[in-house]
Subunit: 107 residues, 2 copies
C-alpha cells in the first residue's frame, strides 16, 4: 500500500467515516470492528490503515488483538480550513468583498 494519507482524503470515503463514528470514545479490535461491516476483514484493515496514516486513529496491540481508537485532533486541520468558508455561508460578505475590491473607485 501507499505511504501517507491526507485528512481530506481519509474522510472522503463513507466507510471510513463510519469507522470513525464507530471508534468514537471506544477501543475496538479489528474483528469486532469488522463485524459491523459486510465487507471482508482485510478490506476493513486497509481502511484502518488509511485512517491511521492520516493520524485519525491510533492502535495498540494487546496479545493477539489490535485495538483501534479514534484520534480526533487531526480534524482540527479541517476545522481551520472550513473557517475560511464559513464567512461565505450566505454570500452577503462575498458580494460586499467583491464590491469593495472592484468598484470602490467608481464615482
Amino acid at each position: 500500500m501507499a505511504e501517507k494519507y491526507d485528512v481530506f482524503q481519509a474522510i472522503a470515503d463513507p466507510t471510513r467515516r463510519r469507522l470513525l463514528e464507530l471508534l468514537a470514545g471506544k477501543e475496538l479490535s479489528i474483528s469486532t470492528i469488522s463485524s459491523h461491516f459486510t465487507m471482508s476483514r482485510t478490506a476493513v484493515t486497509k481502511h484502518l490503515y488509511v485512517l491511521e496514516s492520516a493520524g485519525l486513529v491510533v492502535a495498540r496491540k494487546i496479545g493477539r488483538e489490535k485495538l483501534y481508537c479514534l484520534e480526533a485532533k487531526p480534524l482540527q486541520k479541517l476545522r481551520t480550513w472550513l473557517t475560511f468558508y464559513e464567512q461565505l455561508w450566505d454570500n452577503k460578505l462575498a458580494i460586499l468583498k467583491n464590491v469593495v475590491e472592484n468598484n470602490h473607485s467608481e464615482e
Copy 2:
C-alpha cells in the same frame, strides 16, 4: 463522466480545494481559472464538474464564456459532521464517556 459527487469527495482533491479558494468571492471564466494551473483546460473543467455536481460552485454562461463562482452552503454539511468530533478534540470527554458506559456499575 459520472453522476453525483459528494461534498466530502469533492474537497478531497487538493486541486479542487485550490479551485474553491480561487473562486471565493469571484466569478471567473474557465480560461481564466485554467491560467492558474499547469494542467490542461480539460482537466480543470473536469474538476469544476465535480465541484458543480457537489453544489460547491455554480456557473452561468455569458456569450462564449462560462463563469464559475463559489457556493459555500454545501460546506455546512461538513461543518455539522465536524461538530460531533469537536467534542473529542482532546479526548477528556471520550474517556469520561467510556467510564460512564462501561464502568458505572462497578462498586
